[in-house]
Amino acid sequence: MRTVRANLILCLLLCVIHLPVIAQLQPVYSFQQDDTVLRKNYYDQTIKKKELLLASVGKEYAKDYKAIYDDQFKEIGGFWKSSRAVTSPGIYNYLQSVVQNIISVNPELKGTDARIVFTRDWWPNAVSMGDGSVAINAGLFIFMSSEAELAFIICHELAHYYLGHTPEKIKKYVETINSDAYQAELKRIAKTTYGAGGQLEAFAKSTAFGSHRHSRESEAAADKQAYLFLKRTGYDIGAIRSALEMLDRIDDTSVYKPLNLAQVFNTKEYPFRKKWIEKESAIFAQVNDNSSFTAQEKDSLKTHPDCTKRIALLADSINAATGGKKFMVNENLFSQLKKDLFLEITEECYRAKNLSRNLYYSLLLLQAEENKDIAVYSIARCLNDLFDKQKNHKLGTAVDTESKSFPEDYNLLLRMLERIRLDEMAGLNYAFCNEHAAVMKDFPGFDKELIKAKKSKDQ
């Protein structure tokens, strides 16, 4: 949601795209066919934008600006070159209709070169990358309850771009690190023999605090501008509150009911084994991550902090507004796209070789009996891949490890993947495939996965 956190997000993206992206796709379902020409066009615009920006910075600190822009545009360019951006006509056109509802009534946005797309990314976020590229992650869209909420999120990201928050932040950063005061203080600390670490920590905190404060100010400014943009559209202004409330609790929310591993992986042929997920002794087991934190500190740890404060800042404006529509383009399509994009997220995790997430989302679909045949195929394929990875000692590069920031049911799956032995993985998958073989006999590619699972089991 926040431009100022773009660097963090980009780092996260980096981590994901570092994994080898070797797609070996089978015809699982007719996934959205991207418009590669459009994507190339957007990529070209990004490159041009970089050249313009570099030309616009003066000679002073040119090296610093170049280093930052190189990093920034490497990520943005990588994004447009990847399979993450959804440019398939159906989804793209829907999103552009909502975008047009905003741009057409806001003169400030007339002629904007903003390029707004959904992504196939699982994490619940939206980002204005600073050059006009705006990404609304499918991982956020699936939590939205109305088109008006989507419109507010778009307005917020457009506001960041319109208000020039990214270039402003870069400028402020470059000027700060080059300022005489900043350099003099670092020089003084560098020459200090004793207590230098403490002084440096305090100095880093004070400058970071300045940055956080600036970030909060940017968010508030973007919200205010987004309110003005949204107000003119005819969308329900109440969506601002519901969208921010949704963001506030998003870390503890799931679209589907928690995964019951013991149920989805229990077959007559290969019963589920409790030892795969049993709890073990752990260091500092009673430490609750948040127990010693104040309410403010707890909030700052959220993916989207300060939401209640942001609501409060706009409360009068929201309360004063009446009417407004929750849907203006297509309610049915909105609902359908949420389902389709969940499948896109699932498949993108597979493409990016994030196999634990691919398996998690596929199992959630199976449990919810939604797109069941796709889910079964996807699980069989994923377990076969996990078998290969584990056999070749590369499993650790394709699965997450347990984390307190993950949902409990995902952590249990990760624990299972960590403990299950190679022969058990093969046995489990073969039994799973057999259990669904009759129903899946005509599903393209399933027979190959079944054969592969059998081969692994017989090894």
Binding site: I283, F284, K394, K404
Partner: protein, 515 residues
């Protein structure tokens, strides 16, 4: 050595940014990693710690940060404190709920044991002051060896209750050992230091069961005593009071306990046994013995498996205890699994002619400095005994042999003694470590090897895994496209692989399962 690789890797990460021309917070920050290691509960890795100097306070004082992570390397806590510049961490342990660290201040000659609870807060601190004599002895023994197997190290968890510490010590004229118990429940400690009047005593912790702490004690008459007397020592876990000290020898055999487990409510002590008149340092063992003892140290059952009779059915063993092509067997570990089966893990070695030594001696008229005989470290071996301690299986796991050149004069040393030298003096065995899971349903034996194949030439990290009755082997090639790869112990059945890419200045860290 591998811990140093870990440290080097982390330091590399923290210094990546030290290239800028103008000052940045990153290149002003100076952090020096002092120690890092895995935190274990028995043999299971439960986390890692990184102990570094985060600031210099004055001439004699540093600020330290002790970072504790879980076994996925996720940070659990940073503990910051100020202390003398001479402080290091020697050991750590976890007892299922509480964590202990042993801090050593070399200048002040003090040990400080800090216990942290499950809530992450410091619960108790125990102190010990070393005499100059003790410090000198520890410098030669406990502090001198820093290997993966933690030879001489000993901070053993008593589940949910505390920790037993065992380390070499000096008391009067004795070279002895000191046992300490540090409670984690309440502030309570006891110490036991045996003295005999001028003898050398070595204590080896075997285990704790039913309120009794069992130790194997070897008493040497002098520095060259090849027939140390062996005793089973029992201490009261509550008080540290000696409950018994019984000789492990009997009229027929001389028995040296190596490990212990609990079977059907009885403590069972395992080890090799020897001729009662033999020399343990030089003579071959006669086989394996399994002795059941009660809480008073009384033998309530025993079983002897000889090389000649029982094990000869499964292995081609000569009357001198030498296995064909395999050589002598050095026992690294003995493990009992949940179904009662016992596994002895060993490695082979044999004497062979040294071309280099012979040539050097010819050229220098016998003053070459290298013996004409060298040691060839051969294969791994796993012996399986059933719950009644009858041998059921013996399997040799092939690996490439490596040679150990010996200094002149070592050629006449007996085979069994050379095994101890290969282990403790030269450190040339390929065996790395063993890990057993908590319910003893699974264990993994890890060792290194080197391959010279068509498709791969380089080091390998190998494992033999027992899991619910099945044994599997696995191998990880440690030569990759990374500039440097280090394999470290991870959770049971897993290893931590660290690939450092020098050009990209990237450190990839991932856990991998041993299949």
């Amino acid at each position: 050595m591998k811990q140093r690789v870990l440290a080097a890797g982390l330091i590399a990460l923290t210094t990546l940014c030290v290239q800028a021309q103008k000052l940045t917070i990153e290149n002003v920050q100076k952090v020096a990693l002092r120690n890092s290691d895995a935190i274990k509960e028995g043999t299971e890795v439960k986390g890692y710690y990184f102990f570094y100097v985060s600031d210099k306070i004055d001439k004699r004082t540093n600020e330290y940060t002790l970072q504790i992570t879980d076994n996925n390397l996720k940070k659990l806590k940073d503990i910051k404190f100020q202390d003398s510049k001479d402080v290091t961490i020697l050991e750590s342990s976890f007892n299922g709920t509480d964590l202990i660290f042993l801090f050593y201040n070399e200048d002040a000659r003090t040990f400080e044991y800090q216990v942290y609870g499950a809530d992450g807060k410091k619960k108790h601190v125990y102190n010990r002051e070393l005499t100059k004599k003790e410090k000198r002895y520890l410098a030669m023994s406990y502090l001198a060896v820093d290997d993966e197997e933690q030879t001489y190290k000993g901070l053993y968890p008593i589940e949910g209750r505390g920790f037993i510490s065992n380390m070499p010590s000096r008391e009067d004229r004795d070279y002895t050992f000191q046992v300490d118990y540090f409670s984690s429940e309440k502030r309570k400690q006891w110490t036991f230091t045996p003295t005999e009047g001028g003898k050398k005593l070595i204590g080896d912790y075997l285990g704790t069961y039913n309120g009794v702490v069992y130790f194997e004690v070897l008493k040497y008459g002098g520095a060259f005593d090849g027939k140390p007397d062996s005793y089973l020592l029992g201490l009261d876990l509550e008080t540290g009071r000696q409950l018994f000290e019984n000789p492990t020898d009997n009229a027929k055999y001389r028995f040296y306990p190596a490990s212990m487990s609990v079977v059907s409510g009885k403590a069972v002590i395992f080890g090799e046994y020897y001729d009662p008149n033999g020399n343990v340092a030089k003579d071959k063992s006669l086989g394996f013995a399994f002795i059941m003892v009660d809480e008073k140290g009384k033998v309530v059952g025993e079983k002897y498996c000889s090389w000649d009779l029982e094990m000869g059915k499964y292995l081609d063993v000569s009357s001198k205890g030498k296995i064909a092509d395999f050589g002598y067997m050095f026992v690294h570990n003995i493990i009992q699994t949940a179904d009662g089966s016992v596994f002895a893990i060993g490695e082979g070695y044999k004497k062979v002619a040294s071309g280099l030594g012979i040539a050097a001696n010819i050229l220098t008229g016998g003053r070459g400095g290298i013996a004409s005989i060298k040691i060839k470290v051969t294969d791994m071996i796993l012996l399986k005994f059933d719950k009644d301690f009858n041998i059921k299986e013996a399997k040799i796991y092939d690996k490439n042999s490596n040679s150990v050149e010996l200094p002149n004069g070592y050629g006449t040393v007996s085979g069994p003694l050379l095994g101890k030298m290969v282990k403790y003096t030269f450190g040339e065995f390929d065996y790395s470590y063993s890990q057993v899971n908590k319910d003893n349903t699974s264990f993994t034996v890890c060792y290194s090897d080197y391959e010279r194949g068509k498709n791969y030439k380089g080091g390998t990290f190998n494992s033999i895994t027992y899991n619910e009755g099945k044994i599997t082997t696995d191998k990880i090639q440690t030569k990759s496209d990374a500039s440097r790869t280090a394999v470290l112990p991870g959770k049971q059945g897993q290893v931590l692989i660290m690939d450092y890419y020098r050009k990209a200045k990237r450190l990839d860290v991932h856990f991998e399962k041993l299949n």
